[in-house]
């Protein structure tokens, strides 16, 4: 497996996003907040004539976003026909993965284990390979829906 990986810092950790899934990296403009949605959904923003759902990866993992600075760049990914912009701390580089993702005994910690496919070696060192579809489900998994005030 010598796939290209987009390397990014998420919550202070180095992560790898499969470059195949990442359509582009954009500078985030105005984000329109979406009330009554889980807080990992930062809002929606426009990329050309398309509306993107902005997902804050730090919150999606269960961390607080305030602890980490962001460089206002986001990776645009398409999952199940919808486009998302992923807010990360920083987008570093594109590198080549070396070998297959593997597991580490002891796991990666509960937040990370939920979304990580495994550890992957890249030419710029080890990183966590993210499962984007799981990442955008947010910390609650699929109980992400909020109870409606009756």
């Amino acid at each position: 497996m010598n796939d290209l990986m987009v390397m990014a810092q998420i919550a202070g950790r180095r992560c790898a996003l499969p470059a195949h899934d990442v359509q582009s990296v954009i500078e985030l403009g105005t984000i329109t907040p979406v009330p009554q949605t889980p807080d990992y959904i930062a809002g929606i923003t426009a990329m050309r004539s398309q509306a993107l759902t902005v997902v804050d990866c730090r919150r999606a993992l269960g961390f607080t976003a305030d602890d980490f600075a962001t460089d206002q760049r986001a990776a645009v990914v398409a999952i199940a026909g919808y486009s998302y912009a992923l807010i990360v701390d920083e987008i570093e580089d594109i590198t080549t993965a070396i070998g297959e993702p593997g597991q580490v005994s002891g796991g990666f910690g509960p937040e990370w284990s939920r979304v990580a496919t495994g550890m992957i070696e890249t030419s710029s060192g080890p990183a966590l390979l993210m499962d984007l579809a799981l990442l955008i489900q947010g910390p609650g998994g699929d109980d992400g829906d909020i109870s409606v005030a009756a």
Binding site: T32, Q36, S49, Q50, D145
Partner: protein, 809 residues
Amino acid sequence: MDDLLADFVAETREMLEASEGEIIAWEADPSDKARLDSIFRFVHTVKGNCGFFDFPRLASLSHAAEDALADCRAGRRVPDSDLVTAVLAIVDRISHMVDAIEAGDDYPEGGDEALVAALGNDGEEVISAIETETTPLHSSASQLIEDNEPASDDRPAARKPDNSPSVQRSIRLPVDLLDRVMSGVSDMVLARNDLGHRLRQAGNQPTIDGPFERLTTILSDVRDAITRMRMQRIETLFAALPRLVRDLSAELGKQVMIDLEGGDVELDREMVEMVRDPLTHIIRNAIDHGIETPSARLAEGKREIGMLSIAARQSGNTISIVVSDDGRGLDEEKIAAKAVSMGLITTKQSAQMNREKILQLIFEPGFSTADEVSSVSGRGVGLDVVRDNLEKVGGSIKVSSQPGVGTLFTLQIPLTLSIIAGLTVEIGDQRFAIPQSYVEEIIHSSAKALDFTHVGETALVTFRGNRVPCLMLSNVLAVGDSAIAEGDHTMVLLRLASGDLFALAVDRIHAHGDLVVKPLAPAVMKSGYYAGSTLLDDGQPILLLDVTNIAGSYDIVSDARTRVRQAVDEATEEADQAAARAMLFTDFAGRRSAVRLELVKRIETTSADAIERTEKGARAVIDGAILPLIGLPDGPVPAEKVRLLRLSDGDCELLHAVREIDDALELTNKLKPVKDDPLVEAVTLIGDQTVTLIDGHEIFARYGEPPEVTSRPLCQLPDSDWARTILGPLVSAAGYDVTTASADDDDAPEVAIVLEEESASLPSSIEPRAVIRLRSRPEAVDGEESIYRYDRDGLVEALRHARAAGGTR
């Protein structure tokens, strides 16, 4: 090959491709119910479509397979590998036959019966159906099955559909591709706007401006074309229906007339496809179960021919298609009993459910009240599929029915991705869009008329005398309290599809315009508050509110409404007594006046030349009726267009000209009676200004008259220049058509005007009902009943009198 057939082939093949995986999965696990269902639906649909065309062999094959599968579904039979093989053989055979149909070849005779026999159906019904419908070759079953196995491998190769140009008259494109092209064009438009902006900044550059203009024109053309590419008139769907109805009714021995309406409604091409099957199912059901046989209809005192009417309507961003028949209607008790026996509901529940709810049970899976299973419908597949398919695309279906009178199915489908009219509202500093179709009215609630109150935790406003629940959008979306004081909100009154009304309080209203709605990511949709997103002109994305869902989550829909109504009724009664409502206006004297709202029938605007003035007062023609008009100032009509309040006391009508109409409001302050002016009932305070309330009784007593319809009676005038130019206009102003003595008119004139000097000239052949004699001298001559020719009032009075007399005959 005609289009319908091409559609059939394409559809069958698509379904085959889609169900191929299902079939294989089912083979692996014959007890898998979901797979079974989907294969069942496939054969059922094929059966239905075959009934539509004349493919008895396909029909019998699919019918047989359906029977076997229905047994499995009902648990009367356990699917085993033999059955699976037999069903698969039939599916293969269907596929080959479809290939043959497309190629225009005849499929080799024979073999069908063996395949059917291999199903091992023990029901005689199936066998008899096949015997009547097919002409099989008699061969031994086992041999044919053996034959069939290799055949299924060879034949697809041999009979690959050859896509000769004669067959392919149109191309089928994936909708994705259209979407991509569409969003590409939208991007191009945005890029053009950006470029245009920069060009303006850079100043005039003729060498660039020309091509840029051309680009703009081309782009807007392309955009139109792309939009049209997606849209299709529903006519294309309707076109196939008369034939379907004809064939079905002939088959079932019924007489059905179809009435199609609204074929020009346009909807998304994809939606047309989505609606096709549900609609066919419903029509089939209606003819099979709904409409009675001619003899039964006659016995019931109905017309021999049943009516099936299908009407499409666009209302905002939904299309509703109503399919109604005048058949026997749905049997509520039978449905309830069936539902209980199926375990859908308990007996107790069925007793508590209202009729409407019980009727909706027919959309539950596996539901069928038909006593007999026919080859047309009635196997319980169908309505649940119909509902599923519609719900998949965000639509809905309802049924209502009157026993013995008929059944009415209402399908609601969205115009996905099409452009909808929307209203942009703002709370805090964020904007949201609301589909215009829900918006009933917008009220700035600073007007006290809304009477904003809290009952418990529920906010209520008063709209046209009704208490309407009110939701604060800022609370609904939990975005914190807005800076706007309670009661200063702008109220958007929203009418739901169920007919329920509620108010949504927002900070501001922005604009309304066309919005291109795009779907939102599932995580956002899950919140239930949004229906999609759209981009504003400046490229900023905003959210489209899901009005129905929001209302639903606050229990505003239907049943809840009755509850709120009841709770509120007492309060409303009190309020009703306290406040009469009035229409506030400013008259031409600049006086602020009001007239009780009950008197106001309508607000009209008329042009000055529709107003006729006489000494005694003015008249205006509104909707072909001449009505008395009051409230105009002396002198010429003050404006080109005059606003008129059309007042009515039930019989009489009159018009009141006003300079400006302010608002409808409640007369909450004390009414102080006025003695000196009979036309004024009272004065009252509204805000801090006095307002005179017009006395309805008095103005109707003075000016009111029933509307005169402008079928004008005929008045015959003397044949002279004077009569034509001076008398004629006056007579026609008094409401007559004018003719002259010499004119060849067949109609007898209602009134004849003769000059005294020429009284002899009255033709004897025509007998007018009344004769008005004019004299040329002011002084009356004794013994002669005549009117001085310039006595306008006298003349008008005489004309009116003559007319009133004519009217009483």
